[in-house]
Point group: C2
Chain length 420, copies 2
């Protein structure tokens, strides 16, 4: 039986899980891969840091791996964007296959890497939604279909926070603190709760589905920091689940890419995915809707995805990186203002006559029609909660700007998109 040699760069939570599973499930993995998988060397930044004992040598010089002619696959599991990009480029230039879990690097540099790789395989199943094999599903399982849309709960921190807000009626700040205590949110949570992590993953999914080369700053990204219990109450009242979604949609030759809190109809399976779990709904033109669910993070689940790429490379040595190459350039990123949706607005107003009339007048003039409407009063203020029929981002923003200038409106309205 032949053997495949790996160099693992980065031995943190994911890297050490990869080493552990390769050892524990050795026989099974060799059977599936058709050859033995051997870790020849690992690389870490700081050799003096105490860590578990591995049964392969460890260096702090990545070039010992990148320049080793006996190493077939470089498994890149570090953090950051530019440093791993240098590692990835050198690995490919030295004719090694690359497996990476680094979504941030891919969000910026995937097309450059694909170009350098040529026919060398790059595996990145672990970069989106941890252990869920969504990359392979999109690239292989649904290959016969034009992808009409992708809607994903692809950030476990946000889903945990929104679930707790719904189940226990507590406000965002309080749940965030609890999530940090439990390790479900980072000490600096802004990358997750701001929607940026989900945006990185969305860009990777959109590349496979559409071959579209966009960067994080090209797309609409909104986080969950503005969500209140009033929004949750509105969702319950009108039959929605509130989720942070990454959404990619095909509209003719245009692709919409956006990350934002979203109301989903309560009978949609995606809306029922709670806690830290991830799920991605994909609609193909012939297969209809399919959905993929599982742990989106965690060392072992992510390592499971890393190893699935290693097995695939062992078996075929020919996985195309983004699934296909020729339709890139045909599809265009849709400008944010042209994206359409239904919208929900929460507007804090003075409790006096004529307020609703002023607001309704603005909607009428902008050409937006109102779908549902709810008013909640307490002794201090009055809140209007309303949902609209479908209109453009440009129109809803115009309406919000105009509403914000009204004297009877006490703060700029909060807005959440509704998926139907």
């Amino acid at each position: 039986m032949k053997q495949l040699s790996l160099g693992i760069i980065g031995l943190g939570v994911v890297g050490s899980s990869v080493a552990k599973i390769l050892k524990e499930n050795q026989t099974l993995i060799a059977a599936r891969a058709g050859c033995a998988i051997h870790v020849k060397k690992g690389a870490v930044k700081d050799l003096s840091k105490s860590r578990e004992i591995f049964d392969f040598p460890i260096t702090n010089d990545v070039n010992e791996i990148l320049d080793d002619p006996e190493i077939d696959i470089v498994v890149e599991l570090t953090g950051g964007v530019e440093a791993p990009f240098e590692i990835a480029k050198k690995a490919l230039r030295n004719s090694k296959a690359l497996v990476t879990a680094n979504k941030a690097m891919l969000a910026y540099h995937r097309y450059t890497l694909q170009q350098i790789a040529g026919d060398l395989p790059i595996g990145f199943e672990a970069s989106v939604a941890g252990g869920i094999p969504i990359i392979k599903a999109l690239r292989d399982g649904l290959g016969a279909n034009h992808i009409l849309n992708i809607r994903g709960i692809i950030n476990g921190t946000c889903n945990y926070i929104l679930t707790k807000m719904k189940d226990f009626g507590v406000e965002f700040d309080e749940v965030l603190k609890e999530a940090q205590k439990l390790g479900y949110a980072e000490a600096d949570p802004s990358f997750d709760i701001g929607g940026f992590d989900a945006a990185h993953k969305l860009l990777i999914l959109a590349s496979i589905a559409y071959g579209i080369d966009a960067r994080p700053n090209d797309i609409l990204i909104e986080g969950i920091t503005q969500i209140t219990q009033e929004d949750i109450a509105f969702a319950k009242e009108f039959g929605y689940h509130l989720k942070l979604l990454g959404i990619a949609k095909k509209d003719g030759d245009f692709i919409e890419l956006r990350v934002h809190p979203t109301f989903l109809p309560k009978d949609a399976l995606l809306g029922k995915v709670d806690g830290v779990m991830n799920a991605i709904s994909v609609v193909g033109d012939y297969v209809g809707e399919t959905l993929y669910y599982g742990a989106g993070a965690g060392g072992e689940a992510t390592a499971s995805a890393v190893i699935s790429d290693i097995i695939e490379i062992a078996r075929t040595k020919s996985s195309p990186m983004l699934g296909f190459k020729t339709t890139s350039g045909v599809l265009k990123l849709k400008p944010i203002e042209a994206i359409t949706s239904a919208y929900y607005l929460r507007i804090l107003v003075l409790d006096k006559p004529g307020v609703l009339a002023q607001i309704a007048k603005i909607f009428g003039e902008v050409g937006i029609s109102i779908d549902t409407f709810l008013q909640r009063n307490d002794k201090h203020h009055s809140t209007l909660l309303l949902s609209t029929h479908t209109c453009t981002e440009a129109d809803i923003k115009c309406a919000i700007d105009r509403i914000s200038t009204l004297e009877v409106v006490k703060a700029p309205p909060a807005m959440i998109r509704i998926e139907k």
Copy 2:
């Protein structure tokens, strides 16, 4: 760009959808496959039957396809077991790759086909759960894991019937008639409602996960014909969803394989999958639970899966049939009597004192402990609904046999397994 030639045998609902999608999504499919896909010829049983017009020649002699040296892939989409088996064998012996949607043939002959195939690829994504890429997920995406269990809603007819029984409170026979009218159930529905269709699919999934060679008559198969509104009421009362599941479970070196109506805890995502939709939950030792959801039947969804196999073969020419070959024989099929579960019993009894005591005495003597208990009376009879803690199939059957002989029991108890 090179070209791959297909012969499609069987041009019914699935076969004609394959032809249509290959034409409609030609450019995309060629990009993903890395070459043009060309249907050289189709074969049907009866040339005189009127059908849509295809842009390839049609024959009623399958050998025109099987003996054509220019055809690379035989796409077998007929029905039955032995006739398609002959076609499949000849295709492989003539060194052609094989793609099939025929679950019944695979349930009986998959290991023979694998042996004949050697390194020739066999694609059978369409044989289980229609458009859901569950074969590839199990074989590739979760390849790093020992599969601890698989639990699948893999028969849309049964799921439709159970959903309607739950939502509208009508009995089995009535819903079945409606399902037949709507085309969700066959004129002769016994294959679906008896659990046999689900058993075929379960055997295929178990082969990929465990490399285990079992046949339909080796495993436990129960359908949904005995389910009543009382069982649905019990599920609601105690927080369960009632589903027909195909279950494969690893227990040391033993594999349990079984198809039966099952109570699932109401917070399990799998239990929330309603209507004709399919979903499969897979638990791996490192990835944890993942779940796959989508349309389990229908010409276009199934054709989507067929074409995903064609694309894979075009790209790699090396997909191993059952994922791995070496662990076959290590794992053994668990005898049905040794399988453990929690159980629900519905017992029709005379409404008189001491009945419960007699039944409880039997449970005590067999060594089964009761978990929950509910009694429902109407003017004609009294029904005991109870659930047990975990025990073996042998024990629960012994208890049921003894309960059935009691004079106060009016009919043999109905039994449903509970998954925890």
